[in-house]
Amino acid sequence: MDYDPMVMDDAEALGPVVKISQADSVRVKYELSNADIAFANSLRRVMLAEIPTIAIDLVEIEENSSVLADEFIAHRLGLIPLNAEGVESLLYGRDCDCDGFCEHCSVRLTLHAKCTGDENMHVFARDLVPTGERVNQVLGTPVLSDAEGLGPLILKLRPGQEIKLECIARKGIAKEHAKWAPSAAIGFEYDPHNKLHHLDLWYESDPKTEWPPSEYAAWEEPPQEGEPFDYDAVPNRFYFNVESAGNLSPDTIVSEGIKVLQQKLAGLIHELADEGGNSMNGDYNGPRSPEYGTGADGFGGYTTPFGNAGNQSSWGGAGGTTPYGTTPYGAGQSSWP
């Protein structure tokens, strides 16, 4: 076969490269190079929406004399980041044998506050207390990342007002509801000088002076004066900025993201291996579809969809006598089993 293998320069032969420029408990900034934009974007999407975490999903309000409506408070509770360390040992609610929820698929939190003083009282995420059995001692605890260790403000109470409720936190992913998002934000950037012209920058008189340079502009060679546009160029260096919401560490978000992507692939490979022999080739086989034998698809030239009489297998076997012999690619003999 006359085929020109894809051009591979030396750098590409090395494979993907990761370079970290900043990493702490809140964010990790890294550069992924020698990778394709398709893969980089898959990684971004999976980190954004498909990493399992834990969030409050059910709220039973026993007493609420605050000024906020029950459902308003329930929504606020759902958005509070909970520590998701060890969430992999928690079951999804739908996979659990229990009726509703149990300690294998949920974490129970309670909140009880009454304003007994003369001044308004603030109720913080700190006041949400995990109760009952848990998979481990940190899973489901509200994230308290501020200096005072209070966590987000849930509501305020006037003297005499009371709030008493019980929450069920469940495992989930951000594709279902954004409250399960592990990342506060993911920065994704490439081509800081816009050499590829993927961006059409709006400007008054000169885009160079009106648009501030990216923080990665110094990392890449600026375009030369009068440089011709390289229409073969593809993005190659991707700058990620993964910011955690506190429920998972930024490093964990990246590792988990890749893991989720791999699990997705493993599931499909497994299914392909399982069903490759029967339903894939049987039920949905092209030649058995009603429209295939009509000649309407342009192949024509034969009367039965299964080729010559006696040739029971629609997958060939008799070589050139099958309908496949007439395909534009065919030399007649198909080389596949």
Partner: protein, 159 residues
């Protein structure tokens, strides 16, 4: 929960317009459970056929679309999107035995993703798909490894 129940019962006695049945089944007091279960079982018998059909549909997440030939096939993936589609398209296209590969999401409100693969005679579309999935898995392994290495080096340098 017992605490919650007694509170509710009290309030129900006082204000008869609050219906206990409105609470979700999971929050109903346990003594009602036996009744609930019976109802569930009865309902289950009737819906058995429907359930089986649904399971079959959910069980198979990838299928070959009609009109496919061994070297030119379209696959339909359920519950997949651009996350898998674009990366898979890229990695399959890198395979020198593949003549053409593209993906599409025919309609945004259907959770379906289609992949078209056309190969040269030396392989089949199904083999190319499987190779693509494995290659992508390998790529993930490499990137994961590189990230962990880079993170360790960064921690060593900064300390």
């Amino acid at each position: 929960m017992s605490r919650a129940r007694s509170k509710k019962e009290e309030s129900a006695e006082i204000e008869s317009d609050i219906a206990m049945e409105e609470a979700p089944t999971s929050h109903q007091p346990e003594d009602e459970m036996s009744v609930d279960q019976n109802e569930d079982e009865d309902a289950g018998d009737v819906e058995d056929d429907e359930d089986e059909e649904e399971e079959e549909e959910e069980g198979q997440r990838v299928r070959l679309l009609p009109g496919s030939t061994p070297t030119a096939a379209s696959f339909e993936f359920l519950n997949e999107g651009h996350t898998l589609g674009n990366a898979l398209r890229y990695i399959i296209m890198r395979n020198p035995d593949v003549e053409f590969c593209a993906y599409a999401i025919p309609h945004p409100s259907e959770a379906k993703m289609n992949v078209r693969i056309q190969t040269f005679e030396c392989t089949t579309a199904i083999q190319a798909l499987e190779k693509g999935l494995r290659d992508l898995q390998e790529l993930c392994d490499v990137v994961s490894e590189k990230f962990i290495d880079a993170r360790q080096k960064f921690a060593e340098n900064s300390s």
